[in-house]
Amino acid sequence: MSNKVILELNDVTKNYKKTNIIRKMNLQVKEGEFLVMLGPSGCGKSTTLRMIAGLEAPSTGEILIDGRNSEKISSFERNIAMVFQDYALYPNMTVYQNLEYSLKVHKVKKEERQKRLEAILETLNLTAYRDRLPGQLSGGQKQRVALGRGMVKQSKIFLLDEPLSNIDVQLREKARDEIQALHEKNHQTIVYVTHDQLEAMALGDRIAIINDGIIQMIDTPDNIYNHPTNLFVAQFIGTPKINTLEVTYDQGKLLFNEEVVLSNTERLRKLALASNRLCLGIRPEHVIVKKERTDLLDLPAQVETVVDYGRYQQLTLNIKGNQSIKAIITNSVFVSGDKVYFSFVAEKILLFDYENKKNLEN
């Protein structure tokens, strides 16, 4: 990845009639970067992608590609390829013709066309299907053709709009690996839209979490998971969902239902909180569950359900105040109904402002 910014969104907004789809979006993508846009459906991620593609014009703001306003350059100069969610293959053309079409229209020489196409068919394992119509292909094959159609153009920017959402679960991982391998080989700039966080985590150099037409956070997968900027990001990423508890801060101690869950650490002192309400977030794998009370911070709970996923077990714990939290542990010895004690891994605790839900430490 170079340091050159190839794609830039400056204060981009998009309105449909009276609804605000995108509000003042700013984004910079570096050359060779793999950026994933992740968000729930209807959050505006596909609209953003379509604007980058030039299929829709922003209502205000500008999109710069290689430093030039994208509205002022032709689609040919823009040099962007895109893979559509349902592939959008030309149904009346064979696999080969689908891949060849744009090159042919733009008068790329026949030998050159053949060379590029053979290579791509080979890479994508499509050589055997070159003369089939899209209607005769499986979902995975169609997806590879769509990918190939984007690749032949050897464009600077490659946009992918939920390319894996229409193929079988079993094939999805393989397809994901293929995309990753392609990126590692070609170092193309990729903007990838998905609603699947596993896909996002696996693929992205950086992930932009979008909600309500706003980028909530844009960072590496690791930072997004461990240091989310706000509660939305924290809750959106990770399954099962992060536990959130309403806590109060009082003289160096965090109190949950009047019992201390965290006290007198360096972290708390740094925050210099006034006495008030906070949101505490703790991921289920950072909840410690044990049979006996061994520490002052251990709180009592009752196991409500145990779901065994083989590799790990997911517990639902009933705690005081008619609330429940989830915990993920390995080699569980608990059964439902057990009286247990739980505590949190102190350094993994996340603290959010009660009002604006922002991470207090970011």
């Binding site: 895109m82 559509f84 030309y90 079409y101 744009s102």
Partner: protein, 296 residues
């Protein structure tokens, strides 16, 4: 279960009976009877019919009037194809791909004339094109020209008659073709934009092939319905004249049957028309029904 099957059978027959009866009495049987009549000389009233074999059919190709009629019919078909198919197709492409607003408004307005009787259309055009008192003649007079009396020329009469049906059918065919264009998935069109395919190239390479079935359906409909539609303005304005110059196979059949009382000739001509329509039907099935499944 058996009882239920039996009941279903009875119901099936009961539900289909009204349609089947009317089709049988007023379409199937008449076709057979017309076919039978085409081998006789008859005047619709006389108690006896003379068997003449294939004479009525032979006369279609030998009789100079009939030959003129056949040529006229071909002329009609060509004109109808241009006016009622190619023009609406072109306009529907413009509305679909070249403008971004008011599509629905155009659709609503274009459709309006198809609500009106062709008799109204015939009256209107005989006013507009009236060589003495019509607005076109008025304008031409102001430019120092004269509008020829088109009812005196077979070819010009045919053109005006086709324009009348065009006025009526344009919106209808436009709506059908626009719907067909609408069924080309938007993301495929987007994909061509990403591939920077020029618009007309995209229409030629992607839209036409995908829209082939509906376009062909409208094309066949244009011929089959068009030839029947022109009957009304012919009957109202020219009665086939001058000297059969604006007549076609369908009007001539009517003339033979109900004005000249040459039932046999009329029947033979009707059967020939029917056979031509059947060929078109066959083509429709071959192209339309056969093609669609391939793209699934």
């Amino acid at each position: 279960m058996n009882n239920r099957n039996k009941k279903n059978k009875v119901l099936t027959i009961a539900y289909l009976f009204p349609t089947a009866l009317i089709l049988l009495v007023f379409i199937i049987a008449p076709i057979i009877y017309t076919f039978y009549l085409s081998f006789f000389n008859w005047n619709l009233i006389a108690p006896t019919k003379d068997f003449v074999g294939l004479e009525n059919y032979l006369s279609i190709f030998t009789d100079p009037v009939n030959r003129k009629i056949i040529l006229n019919t071909v002329f009609y078909i060509l004109l109808l194809l241009v006016l009622n198919f190619l023009v609406p197709y072109f306009i529907s492409i413009i509305v679909k791909f070249f403008i971004s607003k008011m599509q629905t408004a155009y659709k609503i307005i274009f459709f309006i004339p198809s609500l009106f009787s062709l008799v109204v259309g015939a009256m209107l055009f005989s006013w507009i094109m009236n060589p003495v008192s019509g607005p076109v003649a008025f304008f031409m007079r102001n430019l120092g020209l004269t509008l020829p009396n088109w009812t005196n020329s077979g070819a010009m009469a045919v053109v005006v008659i086709c324009l009348i049906t065009n006025w009526k059918v344009f919106g209808y065919n436009f709506v059908l073709l626009l719907t067909g264009l609408g069924s080309v998935p938007q993301n495929i069109i987007d994909a061509t934009k990403m591939d920077s395919i020029p618009k007309w190239r995209m229409i030629w390479d992607i839209v036409f092939p995908l829209n082939k079935s509906i376009a062909f359906y409208v094309l066949i409909l244009t011929i089959v319905q068009g030839l029947q539609y022109v009957f009304t303005p012919i009957s109202v304005i020219t009665q086939g004249g001058p000297y059969y110059g604006s007549s076609n196979a369908l009007y001539h059949t009517y003339l033979n049957a109900f004005v000249l009382y040459k039932t046999g000739n009329a029947s033979a001509l009707a059967i020939v028309t029917f056979v031509i329509f059947l060929v078109l039907l066959y083509l429709e099935i071959k192209f339309v029904e056969g093609r669609t499944s391939r793209y699934e």
